[in-house]
């Protein structure tokens, strides 16, 4: 079972039932009504009191779910041939999958807590241009997954030498190990915390008001007219509740970070990047360095405080969906590590590229980039406010003018954070408003290039360069037309003369 065998069809470990059980339960939760309808009918049809009926119903449901999972396991067969993975599955509706090795971009594994004791993993194949999660091999021994990875990573027809096998067995020293401090950083910098806070803030206001009323009423009756204290107490309560909510959210966020990234290790085996981590379910994600299309370094306001970045390597994505599953994310890296990782990832070709946003290597884009945003977001609102004020004469409309400094600050910051930097082999774009985002790419991996010019840009001799990668496009607005054209010609030259594969 430990070596891929090209001939026979076979089953996975019976523990795959757990995988199918989990998948089934998820499906049931998703389509709760349809799934529960027959059980409800059964409940009503049978006699007896409610508690008994519920017990029977739950029992029947449980048995059904288990039976279906066992059946799914029973009908699941797979086979590894010389150049593809074949999967046959389905109880009633039969399905056969044929995943060719050369379409597989990466092999990722997941290991839940039960599988970990038995050294089993669930393998999922990351394929270019696929929709959804096709192709899972549940509950196979982790050694088998390793062997499969070796086999698929190797070009066809080459037999493994003992040296290579050794390489697969011995683990290279990790490039990065995340500690509990990093979990806190990841948790606190999670954008979702800010989002939830923004959504909750009106609610929080209401909550604050009500507790304020309740508490001050209570205090009033308790302290017999000590009004001062009541108001102070209310304000105190308001802040206490607010801080409490933020604290709880931060804790949840940190817990999530622990769940996903506990004991996170990053390895580079040959040209395969591999990360492993997770508290209960261990995730293993791998990506071939050659498949990286763009390298992204992000720093929001909180990470800026921690002096850390999020690094993401993007692969070619399928044409219809904007899926993030084809990204390889390193959740928190220092500046030095980001630089050394970039050197390893882009190798020789990326040597001159600087991705640290505060570097003085970046060139600013033209100030004219602020003109249209100012017109739309500042001048037009000002005009509208002036007109509204002159008609209504209501002073309150003038409050709207407070918007203008905010909008102006936003526009100026966006301009300040925009920038670009290029070498003979690739370029880096910097953007962002509060934080920074830099994207590095190699010219030879470009799919197509567009140079476009608005009327304003034509008057000022400027242009927007847009570079389309297989992972999405990168736009550098408001640079000199001459430069945009030169960059385009260099990119085309590199693409057309490069002997290396882009994917």
């Amino acid at each position: 079972m430990n070596q891929p065998d090209p001939v026979s069809w076979r089953r996975t470990s019976p523990l795959a039932i757990l995988f199918f059980l989990g998948k089934l339960l998820r499906d049931i939760v998703k389509n709760a009504w349809q799934s529960l309808a027959p059980i409800a009918a059964l409940l009503i049809a049978s006699s007896g009191n409610i508690v008994d009926r519920l017990k029977i119903g739950a029992g029947v449901a449980l048995i059904l779910v288990i039976v279906v999972s066992v059946l799914r396991y029973w009908f699941f067969r797979f086979r590894i041939t010389e150049d593809s993975v074949l999967i046959r599955e389905g109880v009633v509706k039969k399905k056969q999958l044929d995943i060719k090795f050369d379409r597989i971009q990466g092999i990722n594994t997941e290991q839940n807590i039960v599988y970990r004791y038995l050294d089993l993993v669930t393998v999922s194949f990351d394929t270019a241009g696929s929709s959804g999660d096709e192709g899972n091999l549940p509950a196979v021994p982790s050694a088998f997954a390793g062997a499969l990875r070796e086999k698929i990573g190797r070009p066809l027809g080459r037999t493994p030498t003992t040296d290579q096998e050794q390489h697969g067995e011995t683990e290279s020293a990790p490039l990065l190990i995340l500690t509990w401090r990093d979990m806190i950083r990841i948790g606190l910098s999670d954008k979702r915390v800010l989002l939830v806070m923004a959504l909750l803030s009106p609610l929080l206001d209401r909550l604050g008001d009500e507790t304020d009323a309740v508490i001050s009423g209570y205090l009033e009756s308790a302290t017999q007219g000590a009004m001062q204290f009541g108001v102070a107490g209310g304000i105190f309560m308001f802040f206490a509740v607010g801080i409490g909510v933020i604290f709880v959210l931060a804790l949840i966020s940190i817990a999530v970070a622990f769940l996903r990234y506990h004991d996170f290790k990053l390895h580079l085996d040959g040209s395969t990047l591999r990360s492993r981590g997770g508290l209960l379910t261990r995730h293993e994600v791998s990506m071939d360095l050659g498949k990286i299309q763009t390298l992204r370094l992000q720093q929001g306001i909180i990470l800026r405080g921690f002096k850390r970045f999020v690094m993401t390597a993007r692969q070619a994505r399928s044409s219809h969906r904007n899926d993030s599953s084809k990204n390889f994310t390193i959740p928190v890296v220092t500046e030095e590590l980001a630089t050394s990782l970039r050197r390893r990832f882009l190798q020789q070709e990326g040597r001159g590229l600087i991705q640290i946003p505060t570097s003085d290597q970046f060139t600013a884009i033209s100030k004219y980039s602020m003109r249209v945003p100012v017109l739309v977001n500042v001048l037009i609102p000002m005009l509208v406010t002036a007109v509204a004020f002159s008609i209504e004469g209501d002073r309150a409309t003038l409050l709207f003018l407070l918007w203008i400094p905010v909008a102006l600050l936003h526009i100026v910051k966006t301009w300040q954070h925009a920038g670009y930097h290029y070498t003979d082999e690739g370029l880096v774009r910097r953007s962002g408003t509060i934080g920074y985002r830099t994207v590095a790419l190699l010219y030879r991996k470009v799919q197509r290039v567009t140079v476009s010019r608005s009327p304003l840009q034509r008057r000022k001799g400027l242009a927007t360069l847009r570079v389309y990668m297989a992972s999405g496009s990168v736009r550098i607005p408001y640079i000199k037309h001459e430069l945009a054209r030169q960059l385009r010609d260099v990119i085309l030259y590199k693409v057309e003369s490069s002997q290396k594969a882009w994917h």
Binding site: S319, Q447, R448, S452, R485, V495
Partner: protein
């Protein structure tokens, strides 16, 4: 023998003095007919509604004046926009330009093209034009669409480009 000569930036072929190929001469007419049909539908709908609901004459007149103004601009727009479009087939890539107000020039190297498609609508067939679509990896509008090529030209281009794509794959 591996060679890696240094390339001077100025020596790279640019796109400044390219000989832009024009689209099919009947394409302007075809676009105008298409736009006229598009404009006619809401106008007809509005007329029916205003007759059925007995709208007062003045607002209906104003609506008509504005609507006809828009329709005239919309229908005559291809006369201005189509001459601005053009393409150049080069040895290693295909370049396409378009846009009247926002002008853009797009270049696709043949060795990045995934597949090529030609298509035509009934209206296209009436005027003898076709659309050529070039797909690259990555989606997100990751394809170039050239409308209004002569039907034979589109077919020739499709075969030519496929040939180029095949050669680049074999040599890689």
């Amino acid at each position: 023998m591996f060679q890696n000569p240094e390339i001077a930036l100025d020596d790279l072929p640019g796109t400044e003095d390219l000989d832009w190929q024009k689209l099919h001469p009947d394409f302007v007419r075809q676009m105008q007919v298409q736009h006229a049909l598009i404009a006619l539908a809401p106008l007809a709908g509005a007329t029916v509604i205003s007759v059925l609901l007995h709208f007062p004459l003045t607002p209906v007149m104003i609506f008509w004046i504005v609507a006809i103004g828009f329709a005239i601009v919309f229908v005559s727009w291809p006369r201005i926009s189509v001459p601005r479009r053009g393409y150049v087939v080069r040895d290693k890539d295909i370049v396409f330009r378009s846009g009247v107000i926002w002008r853009s020039v797009t270049a696709i190297p043949y060795n990045r093209i995934q597949h090529v498609e030609t298509s035509n609508t009934p209206l296209d067939r009436k005027f003898g034009v076709a659309t050529l679509q070039l797909f690259t990896a990555g989606g997100s509008g990751g394809d170039l669409k050239i409308d209004g090529l002569g039907a034979e030209v589109a077919e020739q281009l499709r075969i030519y480009i496929l040939d180029k794509v095949g050669v680049s794959i074999e040599s890689a």
